[in-house]
Amino acid sequence: MDAVFKALADASRRELLDRLRAENGQTLGELCERLAKTGIGMSRQAVSKHLAILEEANLVATVKRGREKLHYLNPVPIHEIAERWIGKFERGRLQALVDMKKALEQSDE
């Protein structure tokens, strides 16, 4: 669990998870290309290093396809953390709050 929190305690790595959430199964090259397109400067080396930390924490799962390595957001460890601190009966109310916050902020999701 320490590895998960350490991996999440970095804005660049959270950005990478957001990118995979938007489009799962990207290669290192695709991730770099799309980051550059939206003006986020992260060297290929840095992205590669961040991905390794995310994979070590099991937040990213990889699949080899031919010579390519595809990266997938793996939400299971985050789910386990939620299960640890969020009770069964709080869930509905929390979801209502999250929905309300989303509606009020009109998040662009």
């Binding site: 099991n58 799962a61 699949v63």
Partner: protein, 158 residues
């Protein structure tokens, strides 16, 4: 080979044989899969069946590959009456010994474009896998945490 849609990985402190049993035996699945009795212990060509907590059949899908305790592949096409007719998708379980744990990878792919099942799945597997891990490591599964829709469906008997 097309690109997998979802890939989930969890590490479970139990041998692959035990994880395999939990994935294929209804008496075990019932204890962590939120009351669902999922039987998938047959050979390729046999059926994977699942009954919801109300005893209504929710799955009757083909087992495509079975190599205990390493690899299991079955079709996925729930029998829910209110789901539009979607093509059968495919679930692959891969179990590997990793140090003294089992690394379980679940891949779900082969969805139709715009699939509704696709959206339900993205909430379902993390819940099932977290509960499976808890069940094998502590003897207790977790309470259902998937969306209300699925719970109401289960309560109403599919």
């Amino acid at each position: 080979m097309s690109k997998p849609t979802f890939v989930y990985v969890t590490y479970i402190a139990a041998p692959p044989e035990k994880v395999w049993q939990a994935l294929t035996k209804a008496d075990l699945s019932e204890q962590y899969w939120f009351g669902y009795r999922v039987e998938a212990s047959g050979k390729p060509g046999d059926r994977m069946t699942a009954f919801n907590p109300a005893g209504v059949k929710a799955h009757d899908d083909p087992i495509i590959e079975s190599d205990p305790p390493r690899r299991l592949v079955y079709g996925w096409k729930p029998l829910y009456k209110d789901l539009p007719d979607e093509r059968m998708s495919r679930v692959t379980f891969e179990l590997e010994l990793f140090k003294d744990q089992t690394r379980l990878t679940v891949t779900h792919d082969d969805f139709d474009d715009g699939s509704i099942m696709f959206r339900m799945i993205s909430k379902g597997w993390p819940a099932v896998l977290s509960s499976l891990k808890s069940f094998l490591e502590t003897g207790k599964g977790l309470a259902p945490s998937w969306d209300d829709e699925a719970q109401k469906r289960a309560a109403a008997g599919a």
